[in-house]
Symmetry: C2
Subunit: 138 residues, 2 copies
Amino acid sequence: MESQDLKKAGLKATLPRVRVLQLLENSEQRHMSAEDVYKFLLDSGEDVGLATVYRVLTQFEAAGLVSRHHFEGGLSVFELNEGRHHDHVVCVKCGKIEEFTDDIIEERQRNIAKLKGFDMTDHCLYIYGICHGCQKPR
Amino acid sequence: MESQDLKKAGLKATLPRVRVLQLLENSEQRHMSAEDVYKFLLDSGEDVGLATVYRVLTQFEAAGLVSRHHFEGGLSVFELNEGRHHDHVVCVKCGKIEEFTDDIIEERQRNIAKLKGFDMTDHCLYIYGICHGCQKPR
DNA sequence: ATAATAATGAGAAGCTTTTGCATCACTAAC
DNA sequence: GTTAGTGATGCAAAAGCTTCTCATTATTAT
C-alpha cells in the first residue's frame, strides 16, 4: 500500500503523492517525464497541478523513492526505485529504454572512485544506440 | 591551426568559430557550459552573441569536434574531443571533474549493446561522489 | 571588386522547472 | 465536533536555459 511507503519515507500520504506513486508503480512506461506524469494524472481525472508533480517527484527523489535521469538530448525522466541499481540502454531513434546490470562494471566503478579519492554517492551508465526495430530500412 | 580543423569538419573558418575552438583548446577548464564560453569570450574582448555560442557548439558537436555532457542536476557542459573516449568522475560538492578510461568496462558495454540488439552510437558513464578535498570537515 | 551565400548579434520566443501566495486539507488539542 | 496550527496544493508568475527570427555583416567564389 502506497501510504505506507510514503510514511516510511517521511512524507505525508497526501492524495497527489499517492497518485504519483501509484502511477509510477503501475504504468506500462517505467520511465516518465514530469510532463508525462502530469498528463496521465489529468487523463485519469485527477485535478493536479504541474507544479505539484514536480514538487512531489523532487521529494520522492530526495527520499530515495525514485531516480531521475538526464538522457542525451536533455530529456529527463523519473523511474521508481525498486530493488537494486541498474543502468540503461537508450534508443536514440524511438526512445526505447532497456535496463541492465553488470557486476563487473559495478565493481570497477567502485575501484575507480576509490582510486580517485572520491566517496561515491551515485553513478550511471548510459548506452545510446539504435535498437533492433529502428535499424530496419524504411 | 584551428582554421584547418574547422575546414576539415566542413565548417567555414569564421571568427566566432575559431575563437570558441581556441578557447576550448586552451582553457584551464576542460569542461565548460555555453554560458562559460560566452563569458570567457566577452571578457577576452570578443563581441560575440550567446546565440552564436550555442549555434557553434551545436555545430561542433554534430561535427564530432566536441562532446556534450548532461551531468546530474541538469548542468550541461561541452568538452573538446581529443583522441579517445573517456568517462567522468564528478564531485557533487565542488563540481571538480576527473576523467578516466577503463578498457574492460568499454568492452563489456559493447557486449551489452550487442546483446540487446542495439547498434551503439555513444555511451557515457558518470561516477558522482565527494572528492577528497570536499570530504574534509568544515 | 562584386555578387551570391552563409553566418552573426540582438532580442524575442519556447520549454522546462521553480517560486510566491492565497486557499485548502489534515492533525491534534480543546 | 470545533477550532487553531501546520503543511500541501493549485494557479499564475517568474526564472533558467536554449532556440528561433531577422536584419545586418562577413565570407567565398567569380
